[in-house]
Structures are given as structure tokens and as C-alpha cells.
């Protein structure tokens, strides 16, 4: 392997020792607890939202409600105009991507800059993220380095991941200092205390929510939880499922803007609660389970289709299994219903999901709905979708095997996360009934061979 950076991709993270502290029984209890908390939360959604609002307001957080993404965009624009903002720095927020907020603000003369490193790379290169936790996973180091050379800092040497990280740090620190507005998502909002919680590793989220004079937090209405005590299990399953870490570097609980005597923190904090089709999902007792999602990305990491075709093939903000059930419900079954067809229903996502969303059942229901809504075009469309599915699958295979890097990426995702798979994965079930499930090696064969000192060619 002549690429030193690729070698490091497989460096065994010490955090992985976490795996050893959990047996599958504990893992299952944790999933039941986290899933139960989410189910309870969603079953009381209107009450909790009505509890969250006054508690936030009492803390000094201003609460806004938006039925549509257009409405949410105009709320943000109003706040930005009042703050006289030219530059907004953004932490990772899937809701903002649902809103296409960056584009909207740009049209109105306000620059919205992504500051999560992966999101930043993608934005600078005018691309779309391909994974909800690892947005730039489809790009290799050389490609990213080229982006840095051309568009970020031509004068700086940015070849290695370390150099590029340092360059991005310097460029973005300057932006954090100057921005008048900070925009963030919300991972959990605690109703009983009016607290907004953010999960991150980089510190950009803390910058966006602390440095600018005004902070706007964007949140889908389903992200509320009842009590502070609900947080620990949810946080645990979120970080473990997302990246295999016991916890992220930062867990940031924001309850109010700058108080008397405080020297920093935003002077205004706004919370925008977005519906955008969520209350419609709520009508149906099965589809409602879509709202349990904590956006951890585990279903993508374990999806045999996603790991082969990558996130862009889905052509939607939310890729992978969650995208297949969420997007048709957000954008409408007629425009995005085809996504529900592009699945082999293998069930790997259901087994991986830390809150136990019945993704395949929901897919089937959506297929049924789609068939009902467009009976006359049904067959031609279904055929079309099937073809699309097959096409992207085969294309994906071909691509993966012609690109060593892509293949290694899959191997890397699997070797890092496959240990969290429950033993009862459907495709492993008949095997595991009488046997131990073989564990994925923590290192890909490539690396083991290399470490054994065997030259690759």
C-alpha cells in the first residue's frame, strides 16, 4: 500500500475496547430501554411539546413553530435580518438540510457556512453529504486535498489529514469570530427543564452555539424527551451506534442565553420547532414509529445496499434505510415513493436500529400506500424502481471493486461497527441458532497481512 493515510484508516481505536464491557444481554436491555423511552416520548408528543415551550421561554429561549420548511426558513431569515447578520456559522443539522436553508439564506444575501469538517468539505466542493454521521465518507484524501488546494487555502500545504484539519481549524476559527449568527440542530430537547442538548466531537457545535450574538436551534418536533433522566440511555445508544464511542467529546446542554454576570454565550437563543410532515406520520400507528429515529446512522452502516452504492444514489437528504422510510413521508409518496421500493427487505437495518424501528414493516406499508395512491401507474413505476434499484446495486458493486479505496471504506465501516450487531441478524439467524456467530475481525485482512510483514504485491 503506497498511501500512508489509508493505513491509518484502519488504526485500531482504543475506544473499541468498549465492546468488551457489554455482553449481548446488556446490549439488548439498553436497546429496549432506549426504544421504550422513545416510544413513550412519541406517545405523549403533544403534551411534551406543550411542556417544553413554556419551560424554554422561562429560561429565556424564544420558541417558534413552523409547519413547513418555507415557514421555518422565513423564521430564520427574520431572526438573521434583525441580527443584521451577513455570516452565519452552522453546526451539523439534518433539519437545516431538509429546509435547504443554506441555499435559501444565500439567495437572501446571507452566507451560511458549514463548520463540521465533513460538511464543510462537501459544501466547499458544492456536493451533498452522503452519510448523516460521516458526510464526506465518499471522498478520499487526495480528492479532499485537491478541494483544499483549489478552494480553501491554495498557499498552504494540505496533504495529510492532520494538515488539512489544521488548515480548516484556522480558516473556520476566523469565521467563528466574525459570524453574527450561529445555527445548530438539536439532538434532544428536555421538556421538564427547557434544555437543548447537542452531541458532537469537533467543538464546532459549541462555537456555533456560544460565540455569535444570536443562536438559532432547529429541531424536528419529535426530538423532545420528557426528563433529564431520559438522556443517559439515549445518549449511550446514539454515540455507540453512530461511531462506536462510549460518548462523544462534547455533550452540550444549553438552558438559556447569556445571563446577568456571564461574559459569553449568545444574547438571544431561538428554538424553531419544525413539523414538515411529521404530524401526518403521527396519524398512522405504524408510520408513527418513523418518529422514534435518533439519527444515529446505524441502519446505513449495516445496510448491504447502502454500503455498496453509497449515499448519493438515494438522491435525498436522508440516505440509507431511514431515508427510504422518512423521505417519502416528508416529500410525499408520489414524488419520493420510489425510495420505498429500492430495498431487498433483508432486515439488517431493523436489527441494527438502537430504538428498534420496524423499518421493513414501514417500507411495506409505504409500498402499499403508493400502490393505492397511483394505481394506474403502479406497475410501470414499480418496474422503473426495480430497474433503478438493480442498476444502482450493480453499478455500486462495479464501482466498489474497481476502487480499492471504496472497498476499504466498506471494510472499515464493518470492522468498526459490526461488533455491535446482535447475534440474531436475519441472515445469520439460521447459522447462529446452533453456533456462535463468527465475529468480524477488528482489522481488515489487508491490514493484518501488512502487519504480518507480507508485501502486498
Amino acid at each position: 500500500m503506497d498511501n500512508p493515510c489509508l493505513k491509518r484508516v484502519f488504526t485500531k481505536l482504543p475506544e473499541k475496547r468498549w465492546v468488551m464491557f457489554l455482553d449481548s444481554g446488556e446490549l439488548e436491555t439498553l436497546r429496549n430501554l432506549a426504544g421504550g423511552i422513545r416510544r413513550d416520548t412519541v406517545s405523549r408528543l403533544p403534551d411534551l411539546l406543550e411542556e417544553l415551550e413554556p419551560n424554554c421561554q422561562q429560561n429565556g429561549i424564544q420558541v417558534h413553530w413552523a409547519q413547513t420548511t418555507e415557514e421555518a426558513n422565513s423564521i430564520v431569515l427574520n431572526i438573521a435580518r434583525k441580527a443584521d447578520a451577513k455570516l452565519a456559522v452552522k453546526g451539523k443539522s439534518m433539519v437545516s438540510e431538509e429546509m435547504e436553508l443554506n441555499h435559501f439564506l444565500a439567495e437572501n444575501g446571507i452566507e451560511a457556512l458549514e463548520s463540521d469538517l465533513g460538511e464543510y468539505i462537501i459544501q466547499v466542493d458544492h456536493e451533498l453529504p452522503s452519510h448523516i454521521i460521516m458526510p464526506a465518507i465518499h471522498k478520499n484524501r487526495e480528492e479532499i486535498s485537491e478541494v483544499f488546494q483549489k478552494k480553501v487555502a491554495p498557499a498552504k500545504k494540505s496533504d495529510t489529514a492532520e494538515e488539512m484539519t489544521e488548515t480548516a481549524r484556522q480558516v473556520l476559527r476566523d469565521k467563528f469570530r466574525r459570524a453574527e449568527l450561529g445555527i445548530s440542530g438539536v439532538n434532544f430537547a428536555v421538556a421538564e427543564t427547557g434544555t437543548l442538548c447537542l452531541v458532537e466531537n469537533e467543538g464546532n457545535g459549541r462555537f456555533c452555539t456560544t460565540m455569535p450574538r444570536v443562536h438559532v436551534a432547529l429541531m424536528g418536533i419529535e426530538k423532545v424527551v420528557g426528563k433529564l433522566e431520559d438522556l443517559p440511555p439515549l445518549l449511550t445508544v446514539l454515540t455507540r451506534s453512530a461511531t462506536g464511542q462510549p460518548i462523544t467529546t462534547y455533550f452540550n446542554m444549553i438552558s438559556s442565553p447569556r445571563q446577568d454576570g456571564e461574559k459569553d454565550g449568545p444574547e438571544e437563543v431561538h428554538l424553531v420547532l419544525l413539523d414538515n410532515g411529521r404530524s401526518r406520520m403521527y396519524e398512522d400507528e405504524l408510520l408513527r414509529d418513523t418518529l422514534l429515529c435518533i439519527r444515529c446512522g446505524a441502519c446505513m452502516n449495516h445496510c448491504p445496499v447502502y454500503t455498496r452504492i453509497g449515499g448519493h444514489a438515494y438522491q435525498s437528504v436522508y440516505p440509507g434505510p431511514i431515508g427510504k422510510i422518512l423521505t417519502p413521508q416528508l416529500e410525499g409518496i408520489d414524488t419520493a415513493g420510489y425510495l420505498a421500493d429500492a430495498s431487498s427487505l433483508c432486515g439488517a437495518c431493523v436489527e441494527a436500529c438502537p430504538v428498534k424501528i420496524p423499518i421493513t414493516d414501514i417500507l411495506l406499508k409505504l409500498r402499499h400506500k403508493k400502490a393505492q395512491s397511483k394505481k394506474e401507474h403502479h406497475w410501470t413505476e414499480l418496474e422503473g424502481a426495480k430497474n433503478l434499484f438493480e442498476k444502482i446495486t450493480w453499478k455500486g458493486w462495479k464501482f466498489a471493486f474497481s476502487q480499492p479505496w471504496f472497498y476499504r471504506m466498506q471494510a472499515s465501516i464493518l470492522s468498526r461497527t459490526a461488533q455491535f450487531l446482535p447475534d440474531q441478524l436475519p441472515m445469520l439467524r439460521s447459522w447462529s441458532r446452533f453456533r456462535m456467530v463468527p465475529r468480524f475481525s477488528e482489522k481488515p485482512l489487508h491490514q493484518l497481512v501488512e502487519e504480518a510483514g507480507i508485501a502486498e504485491e
Binding site: 481505536l13 469537533e202 467529546t249 459569553d264
Partner: protein, 220 residues
């Protein structure tokens, strides 16, 4: 806007069915581990060192010596800190006794709008901690007027002081014992290591936006 509020809530209310999940089902309980102080310290150290935290154990008396060594080794020439705090007072006294081996001390006393230049140019910042969580290897910070929110974020080296008696086993235990809930402190942070990213080919790199190094003085 108010109509959006009522329309969303009405839609949710109209389609709600059945009794709340919590009344119909019991949630499983996760037992809290029964670790003694030594086990908690061990666990915390393992977790934090695994994510590149540098830990120095010392007594309160022995702090001065180790602190000066760290300052020298890291070439810290100036240090941002919170005035009128327990450890802030200690630093000031140390500087008075032996100014040569201590960094210049800069109190975080102005509003952020008036001190950005300083904040972005200091070598390091020192904060106290409210406690820690052994299970996840996390420090608990409760920024306030004395130790503002950005003190643990902007300087490239974050020095933190923790009293080992304040280590909780789990996050859940910390929430119960600290008596948060209402009113919640304006900001509470769990910090587990220096900032990091793996967004470039999943290569783990420390020191992206927040501190590049986290150094913990664990007072026994």
C-alpha cells in the same frame, strides 16, 4: 405563527390513540455499577487516556510542583483562568511565590466582545470541574460568570482540575446527585477528551475546532 403552533398541536392531538406507552409498559432498568473510589478512578483514567487526555494525579499539596513541570514541558507562557475561584486563587498565590516558573496569568474578566483577541491568542486555559463520570470518562463543567463557556473551548490547551471525590459512576447518577432539573444551570458540559474528527478518510485527528490537548490534574 400562533396558528402554526395550534395546527401542529391539534393535528397531533387528533391522531393520538391509546394510553401513553409509559402507563402500559414497564421500561427495563439498567443497574448502576457499584464501583468504589479506586475503581471509579481507574475507570475514568482508562477511558480518558484512551481518547488522548493527559492525566496527572497529585495531592492538593503536590499540585504546585506537577503544575510547574507541565507548564514548562508544554511551553505555556500565558494562561487564561477564572478569577475569584478556588483554583484561580491558588494560581495567583503560586505566581506570587515563584513568578519565574509560572506563566503569565490572564483572568477572563471582560465580556467576550471585548476580549476576543486575548481569548484566541493565549496558550492555555484552566477550568475547575463540577465532577466527572467514570463510565464514560467525562468531565462535568458548569460554566458561569467566573469561568465562562468559551474558556474550555478556545485556548488550544485545556487544563482541568478534578477532585477525585466527585467522580460519579454514571451520567444518570450525576444527574440525580447534582440535583439539576429546575432551574437547570445555564450551560452544562460533558467533556471527554480534546476535540477530534474522523471526517477525512476516517483518520482520527485530535484538535479540530476545540482544544488540541486536554490535561487533567486529578487531586487525590
Amino acid at each position: 405563527m400562533d396558528t402554526s403552533r395550534s395546527q401542529i398541536l391539534n393535528a397531533l392531538r387528533n391522531s393520538r390513540t391509546g394510553i401513553p406507552f409509559s402507563e402500559s409498559q414497564d421500561l427495563p432498568k439498567i443497574p448502576v455499577p457499584e464501583w468504589n473510589l479506586e475503581e471509579k478512578v481507574e475507570r475514568l483514567k482508562n477511558r480518558m487516556e484512551a481518547v488522548h487526555t493527559e492525566i496527572h494525579e497529585c495531592t492538593e499539596k503536590g499540585f504546585g510542583k506537577i503544575f510547574r513541570e507541565v507548564i514548562k514541558q508544554k511551553k505555556i507562557t500565558n494562561l487564561l483562568y477564572g478569577k475569584k475561584t478556588n483554583w484561580g486563587n491558588k494560581l495567583e498565590a503560586m505566581r506570587q511565590r515563584g513568578p519565574k516558573t509560572m506563566p503569565e496569568l490572564i483572568p477572563y474578566q471582560k465580556k467576550i466582545e471585548d476580549c476576543k483577541e486575548t481569548l484566541f491568542s493565549v496558550d492555555a486555559g484552566l477550568t475547575q470541574t463540577m465532577g466527572a463520570i467514570a463510565e464514560t470518562g467525562s468531565l462535568i463543567l458548569k460554566p458561569d460568570g467566573q469561568e465562562p463557556r468559551l474558556l474550555s473551548l478556545v485556548p488550544p490547551i485545556h487544563l482541568a482540575v478534578l477532585d477525585s471525590k466527585r467522580i460519579y459512576s454514571t451520567f444518570g447518577e450525576a444527574i440525580r446527585e447534582e440535583g439539576w432539573s429546575r432551574p437547570m444551570p445555564t450551560n452544562v458540559l460533558l467533556i471527554s477528551g480534546p476535540s477530534k474528527t474522523a471526517d477525512i478518510e476516517q483518520t482520527l485527528v485530535y484538535g479540530i475546532h476545540g482544544p488540541k490537548q486536554l490535561i487533567l490534574f486529578l487531586i487525590r
